[in-house]
């Protein structure tokens, strides 16, 4: 177990951190706008790299067509990160980042072919959700979300990891753990003013990763007692839309706190409801003595 965590979680996290550190070093050059965009692009690439490395450590070198259908998520997420990277030039415009969202949507719908949800309707819906969320988060990422981006990301992917664990899909749980570790580690390593600026590139990647992995969990959990809970991490992404800014006009509370609270409530509900449903399903005594490790 310790070997697996070191290889499939710690190593991807260190790779992600190295990418972020390199971006930080590069970001010292150029104007403010260019620096922030490089930082955001680095987030996207770091998260995708952490996921990809974790999957490859566990499943071996990438192949096409993929050995298992869920490996297609790696290609979709990598494509989203590269598309985000391509849109991180200083000449970035609303049109270009709209194109990035559409590109990520096409990549998700094209590469992700999961059992039971590979109809045109499912894949079209997946692409539409990715496009909408990438656009919404892209707009939100133009303003400083502060620590909510790395902390919220760590919460979302930790909970997704837990949901995968509950559904007995340990390999995906470990890969999600690698992304969560990358978010947390990157948040600590990056200077505060860069850590909170995921920019369009980071936003497109986060949207794609979350939606694609949520659908993956749903597809491979056909006997799950509460499958709809897989949608809650995706819903929690709206916390990143709430977070930018100082204080909410009605409540007077810091918007970052409200944004993070939204993420924690959605993800907490997903984890809690799923855990409760599975425990009450049956065979509690047997459940208590088995661990996938």
């Amino acid at each position: 177990m310790i070997e697996l965590v070191l290889k499939a979680v710690a190593a991807p996290m260190l790779l992600g951190a190295a990418l972020l550190a390199a971006a930080h070093r590069l970001a010292r050059q150029g104007d403010d706008n260019a620096r922030l965009k490089r930082g955001g692009a680095a987030w996207g690439v770091a998260l995708a790299a952490a996921f990809a490395v974790s999957v490859f450590v566990q499943e071996g070198a990438p192949r096409w067509p993929p050995a298992a259908r869920w490996h297609g998520t790696v290609y979709a997420i990598a494509a989203a990160a590269l598309i985000g990277l391509a849109t991180s030039s200083p000449r970035n415009t609303f049109l270009s980042f709209s194109a990035a969202a559409v590109g990520a949507a096409i990549a998700a719908a094209g590469f992700v072919s999961l059992p039971g949800v590979d109809t045109v309707l499912w894949r079209g819906s997946l692409g539409a959700v990715v496009a909408v969320l990438a656009l919404v988060l892209g707009v939100a990422s133009r303003r400083d979300g502060g620590w909510v981006w790395p902390v919220g990301g760590a919460v979302i992917f930790t909970v997704l990891s837990g949901l995968f664990m509950q559904s007995h899909f340990a390999k995906a749980a470990v890969a999600c753990g690698a992304i969560a570790a990358c978010c947390g580690g990157g948040g600590v390593l990056m200077p505060a003013r860069l850590a909170g600026r995921f920019s369009v590139a980071g936003a497109v990647t986060v949207a794609t990763v979350t939606v694609v992995l949520s659908l993956t969990g749903y597809a491979y959990d056909p006997s799950g007692p509460l499958r709809w809970t897989w949608a809650l991490p995706t819903v929690s992404l709206l916390g990143f839309v709430i977070a930018p800014g100082d204080r909410a006009s009605k409540t007077g509370l810091p918007r970052k706190m409200i944004g993070l609270a939204w993420i924690v409530v959605c993800c907490g509900a997903a984890a809690g409801l799923d855990f409760r449903a599975r425990m009450s399903a049956k065979d509690k005594a047997a459940d208590s003595v088995y661990s996938p490790y």
Partner: protein, 211 residues
């Protein structure tokens, strides 16, 4: 002929007939083999009386057993022929049963059998060679986890019988495979679960309704 002798002779012949009939219907092994089918027949695998078991080394310590409950397919067999039986066996991966629901769920996940993508384990024989009166060497294609590999195994003919509404035949085999050959590598590193899997398959085929 003395009528008394005639009655005694009839009684002896009838008694012998009863004993032989009882032997062929109920005695295991020897009796059943004598009732070999004279022509090639196709038997449907009786899912109730057929099972596939597997054994794997767990944590380098104990031998862990599990089974598949849903075994279906056909057996084409002529006991009098040297050609041997033909098997077309299909096992529902989702019927894996270890007696622990959570462990069953993990075995069905993409970490192991990936039931959502590969719902069936199959074996289709290509040839069979008679080793002795009771044993055949059967070769064919084994598909597990979406990967097909050639397999040759010694298959024992455990008997053929008629009764309970139909004709039945039985076969049993024990063979060993490496799960890594079929792309199942979870917990292989570090010796969490062994690579070699011993498989025990017992099949009962039937013609007619049966029970």
């Amino acid at each position: 002929m003395n009528p008394r002798n005639v009655v005694v002779a009839v009684a002896v012949i009838a008694g012998l007939g009863c004993v032989l009939g009882w032997r062929s219907a109920y005695l295991p092994e020897a009796g059943r083999a004598e009732a070999a089918p004279a022509t090639v027949e196709s038997f449907a695998i009786d899912a109730v009386h057929s099972k596939a078991l597997f054994r794997v080394h767990h944590l380098g310590a104990g031998m862990f057993y599990g089974r598949f409950n849903d075994v279906t397919g056909t057996i084409v067999f002529d006991g009098a022929s040297a050609a041997g039986p033909q098997f077309d066996v299909s096992i529902a991966a989702g019927s894996v049963d270890t007696g622990n629901d959570k462990l069953d769920g993990h075995l069905k996940s993409p970490d192991f059998f990936n039931v959502a993508e590969h719902p069936k384990l199959t074996f289709k024989s290509k040839s069979a060679k008679k080793v002795n009166d009771k044993t055949y060497e059967v070769s064919g294609d084994l598909t597990i986890h979406g990967v097909t590999k050639p397999l040759t195994a010694q298959v024992d003919w455990t008997g053929t019988a008629e009764g309970r509404g139909g004709k039945r035949c039985g076969f049993e085999t024990v063979f060993t495979i490496k799960r890594s050959d079929f792309g199942m590598t979870y917990m292989l590193e570090g010796g969490g679960l062994g690579d070699e899997i011993r498989v025990i398959v017992s099949l009962e085929g039937m013609i007619g309704g049966g029970r």
